[in-house]
């Protein structure tokens, strides 16, 4: 029986492919790389990772080299010497029990140090951010500012942000790969905490955030955007977010406030931040500065269309919004009938860059399609299908009532006016 050597050529081809892969990998951008450290948290993790990678590589090279050597040296040859029948060697075996143990000490000590450093209490006077997970979107609250927003997180550079993590339903996990490790959102009443400080040297920039724990149908579509901005920009953004809706606000309608928060006075903003003059004219992170990796390119479902020649009227849209089921879930500060907390707060939805938790860009077409049939746009979406004659993939029925295209265009105009 002769053995074929073709499989070995296959191995060579595989090695070549791996090389090409490595080369290809070097020429690309990695917008979600965990190796970039823009916070002290990620810097600590990365220092630990370097040690793990070093010792891991040492062990890998040692074992695999030994294995390859043995395979070539001791492969069976015609007329070769008969093997010596060694049953063991106590000294050797003690050696290769102790050596890995020693390597583990080099890993364990910095590990434990880093555990305690990264899980220490956040510095006093941090920016408090409450993160509330929902299937499948993110609610962000800034209790020191009385701000409630969704799917877009603004963080001032050089200031520690302390996150309180809660979930309204199932377990989620809060993760911004470039900022640090993830932390689960396990319940509403038993919050988790994580804190980090975006480097003060960072330019105003956008980052991706993800839900990292499987949470049901649209787990893949539970993303968010993070904007690290200058303290002045942050102050301006916060000031703007605190104001009621920019369109059709009823005088005297107070900004929305979380229930329970009314009984205790809001904690003061961090003094170093409060001292900063807001940047004039700044409302939100400029879209043109967003990296292409932060702009979703999710295709829209086939067969779901919207005429692009319809012109919406914001005032009509406000009336439709306020008299339809929209107000059953959404809140808009300044709109006295819209105060529900089930869905994302829409007070400043017009100034956001994405909709549907980072799934689509926030533009006229996507917003219209979303209102028309969000369940076709995002699997499992809890927001009902609204468009007349649309097929709801969850109830498996075709709507006989609902909004016609003109009404949707009006609502879109209203939402877009909510800068």
């Amino acid at each position: 029986m002769t053995r074929t050597h073709r499989p070995r050529k296959l191995l060579a081809a595989g090695g070549l492919a791996a090389l090409i892969l490595a080369l290809a990998a070097c020429g690309q951008d990695y917008p979600n790389s965990t190796f970039n450290h823009h916070t002290e948290y990620n810097t600590l993790i990365d220092a630990l990772w370097d040690k793990l990678l070093f010792w891991g590589t040492v062990v890998f090279v040692l074992v695999e080299a030994l294995l390859v050597y043995v395979m070539f040296k001791y492969r069976r040859r015609e007329g070769g010497p008969a093997p010596k029948h060694v049953h063991g060697n106590t000294t050797l075996e003690i050696m290769w029990t102790v050596a890995p143990a020693l390597i583990l000490v080099f890993i364990a000590v910095p590990t434990v140090q880093t555990i305690f450093r990264t899980q220490a209490k956040a510095a006093p006077n941090s920016l408090e951010v409450e993160v509330i997970g929902h299937q499948w979107w993110w609610e962000f609250r800034y209790p020191q500012y009385g701000i409630v927003t969704a799917n877009e997180l603004y963080l001032p550079i050089g200031h520690t942000a302390n996150f309180t993590l809660r979930t309204r339903d199932v377990v989620h996990s809060f993760w911004i790969p470039q900022m640090g490790g993830k932390r689960d959102l396990i319940s509403y009443n038993k919050p988790n905490y994580v804190w980090f400080t975006p480097d003060s040297a960072l330019a105003s920039s956008a980052w991706n955030g993800f839900c990292a724990e499987y949470c049901g149908a649209s787990h893949a579509n539970m993303k968010f955007r993070v904007f690290t901005v200058t303290p002045a920009e942050f102050q301006a953004w916060a000031q703007h977010q605190k104001t009621p809706a920019a369109f059709g606000a009823v005088a005297g309608a107070t900004p929305h406030r979380a229930p329970g928060a009314d009984t205790t006075p809001p904690p003061p903003p961090p003094p170093q931040l409060a001292a900063v003059q807001p940047a004039a004219g700044y409302i939100s992170f400029p879209r043109e500065k967003m990296d292409v990796a932060m702009v979703p390119a999710t295709p829209t479902p086939e067969g779901l269309t919207f005429p692009d020649n319809l012109v919406g009227d914001a005032e009509r849209g406000r009336q439709i919004y306020s008299s339809q089921s929209c107000i059953g879930c959404h809140a808009i500060a300044g709109n006295p009938v819209s105060f529900s907390e089930i869905g994302p707060n829409l007070t400043h939805v017009g100034s956001r860059t994405t909709i549907a938790a980072g799934l689509f860009p926030n533009d006229t077409r996507h917003l219209a399609l979303w209102i028309k049939n969000s369940r076709a746009m995002k699997p499992g979406s809890i927001m009902p299908t609204m468009g007349k004659n649309q097929y709801d993939p969850i109830t498996k029925t075709r709507l006989t009532i609902g909004l016609d295209d003109q009404q949707i265009a009006d609502v879109v105009a209203y939402l877009q006016a909510l800068k």
Partner: protein
């Protein structure tokens, strides 16, 4: 190759075994049950593999649209569930069943009918949990089934019902088999075979059974709670009713981590059998291999929360579970080095079996190293729930368990079927599999560290993940092609492979002293074991000169004392006067009724309460009646 290609010295073996479907349905022969496990688990391995290929096709490029989100979630849940519970565990059970009695010189397992029962519960439970995918009703909450996502409130459909009930059913099979094998190993060893003379595979299998009987109760409890929540309105996992969402996670991982060792330990055992035989050297440091296996088994129960570093246990909890996890690397490392030392100075034959065994050593090392990387909680917080973890456990389970199992199949196929597998096709299988496996899983280290979360059915372009995902998909297709080589080789060799004879590889242990395939009674006369390598004592005495021996005498054990001998031919059990257990259909009937009993809860969930009661209680009564009749029927005829 020269040794393996030895011309057959005698005609095709003919075991005097009954044939026909009925004989398979009623068999209580551990070898035939092992063969049924083999075919069934290979079927599920292919099925789970096809699920994986669909997953990879969906992720080949950004915004893939091959399957819907719902279908993807069902597929990845079932891929994990299938591979763990229906493929790798039962593939190990193939060897428990087939090998343990042969290796310890016994005529069968301790409870032959319970053994058949284990198989039928597994096979029927596997069908129960697999069929729903054809109706878009397959479980969709992940193989880990995290509550509260798996409760009625967030998974109202029947999907997770099938998962909860299916896993309960499969747990019965594993537990029954576990107790059976523990009893077998303790009670049925041939005279002279003390524990430190037990073949290393049997040792690892023995440890595995303890892991099974200690770990499965934890998931059984977790599943009973979930079952009650889903069907009877309790609130064990309802967070709104005050449940702690970590209850499920702790219970699940108290099972889930030992489960990892349940999956890998038998493969360690197989490799420890294959490497020495194909390198013509005794296993280096047999006692240390045994002790390190025991250490891994014990430590494996103290590390579960390293799956939960992100849940916020606090720095003390993180530290404890981090350090215990690192400790496991020590006995595991010892095993790796002992395998290399076994190869060192040997005369290594690159048979397919040995290639797969060495493949395990090289690939499991990678999985072990990445395992140490996420034993460090701060680093793990960047790695967990990303593709880095997917890469890690596929190096452990595919590069480890499956490589070991393939080594075992190529090594023991001749013993099971009396014919050798084709080495040329075997080499193709190995190399295509090896390259494909690395192409699939190595890039996942990168995509994970570059921020790609797990369990996402789609991803956006421009995230830096496209190239890695495309390569992974190409690799997965290579693995599928490699599996085709294996399947073709398997059936071709089964029909027309060269006749193997008793001992095609020059084995050291008792299973190689009897014909291939072994007769139903295994040993005409029970061997009397005098050393750790009983067969080498006859065939290669120079190999065993240094191990302790006791003189061969069979005083007081009631057995004929033949010492160690090689047996040929197939006299019938009747001719030899060996009492054999009678075949019985009752284990199959009881297994079927158990599945019906659990399945009746599905009727409850679709609103047919009377039907559920009738079917549930009816099947329970019927099961009790058959069970009593089974227990009142003697195993063997009067003699």
């Amino acid at each position: 190759m020269a040794t393996t290609a030895a011309a057959p010295t005698y005609a095709t073996p003919t075991a005097h075994e009954p044939t026909g479907v009925w004989s398979w349905l009623t068999t209580v022969d551990h070898k035939r049950i092992g063969v049924m496990y083999l075919y069934t688990s290979l079927f599920f391995f292919v099925f789970g593999g096809l699920e994986a290929v669909v997953l990879r096709m969906q992720l080949a490029g950004p915004n893939g649209r091959l399957v819907s989100a719902e279908m993807y979630n069902q597929l990845f849940t079932m891929h994990g569930t299938t591979m763990i519970f229906l493929a790798v565990m039962p593939l190990s059970a193939v060897f428990f069943n087939f090998l343990i009695p042969l290796q310890i010189g016994a005529r069968d397992v301790a409870f032959p009918r319970l053994n058949a029962f284990s198989y039928w519960v597994y096979a029927l439970g596997g069908v129960f949990i697999t069929l729903p995918i054809f109706f878009m009703l397959a479980p969709n909450g992940g193989w880990f089934g995290y509550a509260p996502l798996s409760t009625n409130q967030y998974s109202p459909g029947l999907n997770m019902d099938f998962w909860v009930l299916g896993l309960q059913i499969l747990g019965i099979s594993s537990l029954a088999a576990g107790f059976n094998f523990i009893t077998t190993v303790i009670n049925m060893r041939a005279p002279g075979m003390n524990l430190m003379r037990m073949p290393i595979f049997t040792w690892m299998a023995f440890i595995t059974q303890f892991l099974i009987v200690l770990a499965f109760p934890a998931i059984t409890i977790a599943l009973v709670f979930l079952q009650f929540d889903r069907f009877f309105g309790t609130t064990f996992y309802e967070t709104v009713a005050g449940a702690d969402p970590l209850l499920w996670q702790h219970l699940f991982w108290v099972f889930g981590h030992p489960e990892v060792y349940i999956l890998i330990m038998p493969a360690f055992g197989l490799v420890s059998e294959v490497i020495p035989v194909h390198s013509r050297k005794p296993l280096f440091g047999y006692p240390v291999m045994v002790y390190s296996g025991i250490m891994i088994g014990i430590l494996g129960f103290g590390v579960w929360a390293h799956h939960m570093f992100a849940v916020g246990m606090g720095p003390i909890g993180d530290t404890v579970f981090s350090l215990t996890t690192m400790l496991i690397a020590i006995p595991t490392g010892v095993k790796i080095f002992n395998w290399v030392a076994t190869l060192w100075g040997g005369s290594i034959r690159f048979t397919t079996a040995n290639l797969f065994a060495i493949g395990l050593v090289s690939l499991f090392t990678i999985g072990g190293i990445s395992g140490v990387m996420h034993s460090s909680p701060p680093a793990d917080l960047q790695q967990t729930d990303t593709y880095f973890v997917v890469a890690h456990f596929h190096y452990v389970l595919f590069g480890g368990s499956m490589m070991g199992i393939f080594a075992g199949i190529y090594h023991y196929f001749p013993k099971m079927f009396g014919r050798l597998m084709n080495e040329r096709l075997g080499h193709w299988h190995f190399w295509v599999n090896f390259v494909g496996m690395n192409l699939t899983f190595f890039p996942m280290h990168f995509s994970g560290l570059l921020g790609m979360p797990r369990r996402i059915y789609t991803y956006d372009s421009a995230q830096g993940w496209d190239t890695f995902n495309m390569i992974s998909t190409i690799g997965s297709i290579m693995v599928a092609v490699a599996t085709l080589f294996f399947i073709y080789n398997f059936f071709k060799s089964r029909r027309s492979g060269p006749i193997a004879g008793n001992d095609p590889w020059g084995g050291a242990t008792l299973e190689w002293s009897i014909p291939s395939p072994p007769p139903d009674y295994n040993f005409q006369t029970l061997p009397h074991v005098t050393s750790r390598y009983p067969l080498w004592d006859i065939t290669s005495p120079e190999m065993t000169a240094d191990v302790p021996h006791t003189p061969s005498h069979g005083k007081g054990d009631g057995q004929a004392d033949d010492g160690i001998h090689v047996e040929h031919g197939y006299p019938t059990a009747r001719e030899l006067g060996i009492p054999m257990p009678n075949p019985s259909i009752k284990p199959l009937i009881v297994a079927f009724l158990i599945v019906v009993m659990f399945g009746s809860l599905i009727f409850l969930h679709v609103g047919h309460k009377p039907l559920a009661q009738i079917v549930g209680i009816g099947s329970a009564i019927a099961m009790a009646i058959v069970l009593v009749s089974w227990l009142l029927t003697p195993l063997e005829d009067e003699h």
